[in-house]
Each structure stands twice: as C-alpha cells, then as structure tokens.
C-alpha cells in the first residue's frame, strides 16, 4: 500500500523516514543539498517542454491542455457498456477505458466451458465484431480515444477496433486506440497470459509495426509498471521494470529492420499513483527525464516528440482499502493531487468501492468530480511543475533516478526483461516484497489508517457488483445466432490465412482485420494462435 517506514522515539517523534524505494528522507533540506548533487537547471530539468522534459512534456503544462480523464468502464453486455460510456461522456469524461471480462481477456468465447460463471463479470463480454458494433454505437470514434484493457489478445482487439470504426464509416487514420498490449507485465503481475513469452512478444511487435504503417493515431502499446507495482514492487522498480519491458518490445521491432525513431513516439505508459506523495512526484519527474535520455543514448532517437514519456498516471488500487471504504474517497483525492503535481497527461482513479467490487455509477462519477475539482477549483492548472527548484524535490528526483538505474542494471545483468521474466527472477523479487510489505502491515511497522490504526467504527458491508446470469445467456444466444448468419466460408478462409501467416512468423494484423470483418470470434482467432504458438508455463518461483 505504499507508505514509508517511520522509526519513532518513545515520544512519537520521527527519527527516520525510509521511502519504499529505499531512500532516506532528511528532516531539513537546504541549498547545500543541491550543491552536493551538482544540481544544474539546464541539465537536470530544462524548461517545461524541453529536453530532458523533467518538468513537463508540454511547454505550458495544464494551461494549454487540461488532462484527459479515463475511468475504467465496462461490464456485462455490450448494451450496458454502451450506456455507461455515453453517461461518462455526458458528464465530461474525455476518453474511454474499456474493461473486458476474463473470458475475452483470455481468448475464450462466452459459450466456452472455461467461461462458465465469468461472462460479463469483470468487464464487457466480446465474442465478435457484432458486440463492438453495439458497445461503440453512437460514440464518435474520430474524437474519443479508447484505452482497451487487454493484453494476450490485444492484437485481436486492435483489429476489432479498426473494423468497427471502418464499419461505422470512419477512416482508420483518424481513430485513436490504446490497447494495453503489455504481455510481459501480465506474466509478472496480473496473470492474463496465454501464449509463451517469445510468440507473445512477437504479437506485440506485430501491432507496433502495423500501427506505424496503418494506424497513425493509435498507441499500440501501453507499458504497465502499474500492475507490477500493484503486485508488490517499489516505485523505483516500477519504472525500471516498465522501461526494461519497453526495451524488449522496441528491440523486437528494430530486429525487423525498423528504426526506433519511427515508432517509439507511440509508446505510452500506465503508471501507478499511490503511496508517499513526494516519492510519487519525484518518480514521475525522474521517469520523464530518464526515458528521454535513455532513448537518445540507447537508440539514438533525435526527434524530441518521440522522447516524451506519455501515458496514463493514475489508479492507486493497492492504496484503497476494504476497511472503512469511504476513506478511499479522501485517498483518491490525494492520489489525484499527486498525479497533477507529477504532470500526468491522462489520468484515472480507482473508485472508492473498487477494493471490493466493480465501481458503481456513483463511485465512478465521484472520481471524475475529484479530478474536476482539482483542475477547475483549486488551481492545479495555474503553473507548470510547481515543485521545481525545491531543495527536497530536486534531491529526491535525483535519488530516484539513481535507484531506477540501479534496478535496471540488475535486469540488464540477467540478460534483459524477456529472460528475467522467463526465469521467474522478477516474479520472485516482486512476490518477496509483497510478503514483506504485508508482514510489516500486520505487525504495525507500516501504518494504514482504518486497517491497523484508527480502526474504530464506520466499517461498511461489502456489496459485490451483482452478477447476472442473464448476461451469459444473452451473449451465448447472440453468438449462436451469429454463427448461423455469418458467411462460414469467409470465416474459415480468413482463419486459415491467419494460421498460415502465424506459422510463417509474418505480421498477423492484416489477417486479424479480415477475420474480424468476417465475424470470426475472439475464441476462434485466439485458438489459431494456441495451436500455432502453444501456451505459456509459469516458472516455479518458490
């Protein structure tokens, strides 16, 4: 849950503060600290919008553009999801962030045995293009960008998004989608993997290569330090692992003969905001600076715009608690403040009920209002990077930078991220820290309000988002009807072409678009890959 460790004396005075990344905070910072680190404005910060972008990637920060808010939405059927999308847009939300149910994320159709009891439970069920046609009906796909929270079959879903947009009459050049599409972090954290590491990374390379040529406004990959942090790593490790993952994808595309310059500008990141406020802000400032510098040093990228660390900085799921859940409303507001002080361009916030259920409509709206209050009422748009020049913040930013590089070095020594994940090194490291954190929380070494301190009163009964068996029935009916109506010859032809292309290790994206347009199902496409690639086996980590 990401708070620092405090060592106190018998009178409750704080003797020592150790941040999660292992940095000690001093009680007082002075100009001497800046002198000690050899602080240089041009080299360390630069003006906002200028290399190395520590302060901001935009010269005027939030003055020129307010942030994009993208609450995670989607449940049950495509019809219900469509209604919720429209509601959030009518309340001022400026992008969508689509949640898929687990069968869809894992490449199973709603009528698959493995999907039993899960259809529509944690997100929307998608079996075919028909479902996307319902979910995105009346959404202006040339104006509203969509995050697609899916990984193992992100290539399928990106093809599906292009197909639905073209079916509605939009040009593929004008749509903006950001599939999450980060399979290495699934293997470390969130667990929604299907295929072995090597072909899974190649699929990501396919989407990047395809988007470079065909989908100029899409960001084909959103590298997620977020989930690795949720799984237990430190803020410094979150950034270092995310960067090492990004390098693995970049290297895959470079090996196809492309220049990093031509596609790295499309990478975006999904990073976590919770825990110690100062460590969070320093983390993002250090990350912006390092990303720009490393792309330049490692890959020789010159174009300044391609050096921007862009992404969604938000969430904070692990910071939220099931105990006294209304406290999460306040926590969320502070996390949003941290995101604003960090210069996030796009943000989302876990709703206060998210520790135990899919957000209710009321809770999702409260999160949106939290952002709006920050930006429209209390002055977070006034000036760029307001903490710049602070003795403490600049020292901490430098220390975070060093910690991040230190952690990257460890992975580098393992032979890079693909290797470090395949052998289970990262999983072991993250798992060990999660245990240590939980132990400290239970022993009271780390304080969590309402959990191990101030625990009196105001507990609330957990109410799960009601699961509706009707969803599965509706989806399965629609699927059955689709299979009768579609041109089955076209489907089998397109699937056959997909299989051949996958076997030849060629880019599968054009074939996936054909499959989607012929109304092949997600399960059918995913199964082609299962046959060709096989399935991932988790390394033993204990």
């Amino acid at each position: 849950m990401g708070v620092a460790t405090y060592i106190k004396d018998e009178k409750d005075a704080i003797k020592e503060v150790v941040l999660q990344s292992g940095i000690k905070v001093k009680p007082v910072y002075t100009p001497n600290d800046l002198e000690d680190i050899g602080f240089d404005y041009q080299k360390d910060l630069g003006d906002p919008g200028e290399f190395p972008f520590t302060r901001s990637i935009h010269p005027l920060g939030f003055r020129s553009r307010n942030w994009t808010t993208r609450q995670y939405t989607g449940f049950g059927t495509p019809e219900e999801t469509n209604e919720r999308f429209k509601l959030m847009i009518s309340h001022g939300q400026t992008g969508l962030n689509v949640a898929f149910d687990l069968p869809t994320q894992m490449g199973y159709d709603s009528d698959d045995e493995m999907a039993e009891g899960e259809v529509g439970r944690v997100g929307m069920a998608v079996d075919s293009l028909r479902d996307f046609e319902i979910a995105f009906k009346d959404i202006q796909l040339n104006r509203i960008g969509s995050g697609l929270t899916i990984n193992a079959v992100a290539s399928v879903m990106l093809a599906m998004y292009q197909s639905v947009a073209e079916g509605f009459g939009y040009q593929k050049a004008e749509i903006s989608a950001t599939p999450q599409n980060d399979i290495l972090k699934e293997m470390v954290g969130r667990g929604a993997w299907i295929y072995p590491v090597e072909p899974a990374v190649r699929l990501i390379g396919d989407t990047i290569e395809y988007a470079m040529k065909e989908l100029p406004r899409c960001n084909p990959v959103s590298v997620c330090g977020y989930h690795i942090r949720e799984s237990g790593c430190t803020p410094a490790q979150e950034i270092s692992y995310a960067f090492m993952i990004a390098f693995a994808y970049i290297d895959n595309v470079i090996a196809r003969g492309h220049s990093a310059e031509d596609f790295v500008g499309r990478f975006s990141f999904n990073l976590n905001v919770y825990g110690n406020l100062w460590e969070t802000v320093a983390k993002f400032r250090a990350a912006r600076k390092l990303w720009a510098r490393l792309l330049r040093e490692r890959y020789g990228v010159r174009d300044e715009k391609a050096l921007f660390l862009r992404g969604i900085f938000g969430g904070g799921g692990s910071g939220m608690t099931k105990q006294q859940p209304e406290n999460n409303i306040m926590r969320g507001a502070y996390y949003a403040l941290a995101a604003a002080l960090s210069g996030a361009q796009t943000t989302a916030l876990c709703s206060f009920d998210e520790a135990y259920t899919i957000p209710t409509e009321r809770a999702a709206l409260l999160s949106l209002r939290t952002f709006q209050i920050l930006m429209d009422e209390i002055g977070l748009r006034d000036t760029v990077d307001p903490l710049a020049g602070s003795y403490f913040m600049e020292t901490l930013t430098r220390q975070m930078e060093e910690k991040i590089l230190e952690e990257m070095e460890k992975v580098e020594k393992m032979g890079g991220m693909v290797e470090a994940v395949a052998t289970g090194y990262i999983q072991r490291e993250v798992g060990r820290q999660a245990y240590e954190f939980e132990r400290k929380l239970q022993s009271g070494e780390i304080t969590k309000v309402g959990v191990n301190k101030y625990t009196e009163g105001v507990d609330m009964e957990v109410e799960l988002h009601e699961y509706n068996d009707e969803w599965a029935r509706l989806q399965i009916d629609r699927l059955r009807k689709l299979k009768q109506e579609r041109d089955s010859h076209a489907v089998s032809q397109s699937l056959k072409a997909l299989e051949q292309t996958a076997r030849q290790k060629k880019n599968v994206m054009p074939c996936l678009v054909d499959c989607c347009k012929s109304y092949a199902t997600v399960g059918e496409m995913a199964n082609v890959f299962r046959d060709v690639f096989g399935e991932y086996k988790e390394p033993g980590i204990f």
Binding site: L102, W193, Y356, G431, V462
Partner: protein, 133 residues
C-alpha cells in the same frame, strides 16, 4: 519421530490472474513450517482436485478474487465428495462478502479469509483444523 509437516495445496481456480494474495499467503504458510504446493494460475476445479489427490495434501486453499467463489466452491465440494477426499480441510480467501459466509460454511468450506485477514489467524486455523491434528 518428528511430526509430519502439514501439506497445503494453494490453488488459483478460474481465469482471474491476481495472485498477489495467494503468493503472500504461501510465503506465510512456509514461514510457519508448512509444505505449500502452489498450483499456478487458471486451474479448473477438476485439476485442483486431481492435484490434491496426487500430492496427498491435508488442506486445500483456494484464492478467488473474481466474485465467483460460490459456484467454484460448490463444484469443488461436490468433486472432493465424489473422490472420497472430503476429509480434507478446505479454506477460501479473497474478495468474499460477509453475506456469502453462511452459504460457504453450509457447503463445508471451514475457513473463510477475506482480504486483509492476518497471517496468524490463517496459520492458527490450519494448525488447529487440519485433519489428524
């Protein structure tokens, strides 16, 4: 003769991949001197029951975050009865609302540990209730 260590099968049934809780509890049980066999993700109930048989465990622990604990536990309890291994101690952890606890107890799930449960409570419960203790 030293007492045989308690053997626990810790399982992640279903499609949900959030395994921080399962791994953390596995660590804690090991620290407490138990032998823990972790199934890994995406297990069917049939494969969990099969592993419980093969590994001759005393305890089956399930970690479920998706909200599907009632159907999964119902299926598991039926299958262990069929296999004649319903003497094993069954416990479940994860996102479990209070109102579902009676139904789980009714079907024979003895230990129920919602998110935020203490290691000591889980360990003591197993030490006390594992068969043959």
């Amino acid at each position: 003769m030293a007492e045989r260590k308690i053997r626990v099968l810790l399982a992640k049934p279903g499609l949900d991949g959030h395994d921080r809780g399962a791994k953390v509890v596995a660590h804690a049980m090991r620290e407490a001197g138990m032998e823990v066999i972790y199934t890994g993700l995406h297990q069917t109930v049939a494969s969990i029951v099969n592993q419980a048989l093969q590994e001759d465990v005393d305890v089956i622990g399930l970690s479920i975050m998706s909200g599907a604990h009632i159907p999964i536990c119902t299926k598991l309890m039926d299958m262990i009865k069929e296999q004649g291994i319903d003497n094993k101690l069954v416990a479940v952890g994860g996102v479990i609302p209070n109102r579902d606890i009676p139904a789980l107890k009714e079907m024979g799930v003895q230990g129920i540990f919602p998110g935020g449960s203490y290691f000591t409570d889980i360990v003591e419960f197993i030490q006390k209730h594992a068969p043959g203790r």
